[in-house]
C-alpha cells in the first residue's frame, strides 16, 4: 500500500469497513511510515475536535420558545387568524 492509497482509505479504516487483508496492509504501511501514522492520528483528532462542537447546541431558549413556535406554525392557511 502507498501513502496515497492509505489516505484514500482512512475513513473506511476508522469505520472498520475494509476487508481484513486491506486492513492489515494499511496497518503494515502505517507501522513503517511515520507520515501516515501522523495522518491517522491527526485525522482522528480532526473528527474529535468536530465532535466538541456538538456540545454547544440546543440552547435553553429552544425549549422555552418551542410552544410559541408550534402555536405560530399550526395556523391553517385556509383559516387565517384575524
Amino acid at each position: 500500500m502507498t501513502c496515497k492509497e492509505l489516505t484514500e482509505r482512512v475513513m473506511a479504516y476508522r469505520d472498520r469497513e475494509l476487508p481484513l487483508h486491506v486492513r492489515l496492509s494499511l496497518q503494515f504501511h502505517a507501522a513503517i511510515c511515520s507520515c501516515c501514522r501522523n495522518l491517522l492520528s491527526t485525522y482522528d483528532e480532526t473528527v474529535a475536535i468536530g465532535a466538541d462542537l456538538a456540545n454547544e447546541e440546543v440552547p435553553e431558549e429552544v425549549a422555552q420558545l418551542f410552544d410559541d413556535m408550534l402555536a405560530r406554525a399550526m395556523v391553517d392557511p385556509e383559516k387565517p387568524e384575524d
Binding site: T2, C3, K4, E5, T7, E8, V10, M11, A12, S34, C35, C36, N38, L39, S41, T42, Y43, E45, T46, V47, A48, I49, G50, A51, D52, L53, A54, N55, E56, E57, V58, P59, E61, V62, A63, L65, F66, M69, L70, R72, A73, M74, V75, D76, P77
Partner: protein, 193 residues
C-alpha cells in the same frame, strides 16, 4: 387507514399528533438547523419555518413517509435557504489531493504529529470554534455533510436520506472534507500539514 396511526392523525391535522411529532424531533431539527447555519438566531428561524412548512404539508404525507426523515429534509432545505441569503466567507478551493503525492503514491511532504488536545473545556471549545471557522471555507455541500456527520453525529444512512445522495457519495465527500479540514487545521496549529 395506514399502518401508522400517527400518520392518520397527522393527515387529519390533529394538533396533538403534530405537537407530539415536533416535540420528539425538536432537538434533532434544531441540531440540523444550527449545524448548517452555525448561527443561533438563524437556527431558531429555521426551526420556526420548518414547523410552519411541515404543518402546511401534512396533506402530502404518504403511507410510506418516514416522518423523521421528512421533517429533517424540510429543516435542511430551510437551513440551506437561510445560508444562501447570508453572506458567508468566501469558499476556498480544496487542495488537489493528487498533487500531495509523488507518481509512485508516496507523500511529497512530511506530516507531523499535533500537540496534545487541551484538557481544559474552554480551550477545547476554542479549538472547536477554530475548526468551525475553517469549515466555513469548505464548499457548501462538503461543509454540510461534515456538519451533519461530525457535529451532529448523524449516520451516513441518515445523511443520505436527508440529502438525497447515495451513501457512497456521502462517505466520499465527508472524507474529502475531513482531509481538507485536517490540512488547514495543521497549518493553523503550526504543524507540517
Amino acid at each position: 387507514m395506514s399502518a401508522n396511526p400517527l400518520l392518520d392523525r397527522l393527515r387529519a391535522r390533529d394538533r396533538s399528533a403534530f405537537t407530539e411529532l415536533c416535540v420528539a424531533q425538536r432537538d434533532r431539527l434544531y441540531g440540523i438547523a444550527w449545524s448548517v447555519t452555525r448561527d443561533r438566531q438563524d437556527a431558531l428561524d429555521v426551526l420556526q419555518d420548518t414547523l410552519t412548512s411541515a404543518w402546511r404539508s401534512l396533506s402530502t404525507l404518504r403511507d410510506d413517509t418516514a416522518l423523521h426523515a421528512w421533517m429533517g429534509q424540510i429543516a435542511l432545505n430551510h437551513a440551506r435557504m437561510r445560508l444562501r441569503t447570508r453572506r458567508r466567507k468566501p469558499v476556498e478551493p480544496m487542495d488537489d489531493l493528487d498533487a500531495l503525492f509523488e507518481a509512485d503514491g508516496h507523500r511529497r511532504d512530511d506530516i507531523s504529529a499535533w500537540p496534545e488536545r487541551p484538557d481544559d473545556a474552554l480551550d477545547r471549545a476554542r479549538l472547536a470554534r477554530r475548526l468551525a471557522r475553517l469549515a466555513d471555507r469548505l464548499p457548501d455541500d462538503h461543509r454540510e455533510l461534515w456538519a451533519l456527520a461530525d457535529t451532529q453525529h448523524l449516520s451516513m444512512e441518515e445523511i443520505a436520506e436527508l440529502t438525497g445522495l447515495q451513501v457512497a457519495n456521502v462517505k466520499t465527500r465527508l472524507h474529502r472534507a475531513r482531509l481538507q479540514l485536517r490540512e488547514w487545521l495543521a497549518l493553523e496549529l503550526g504543524a507540517r500539514p
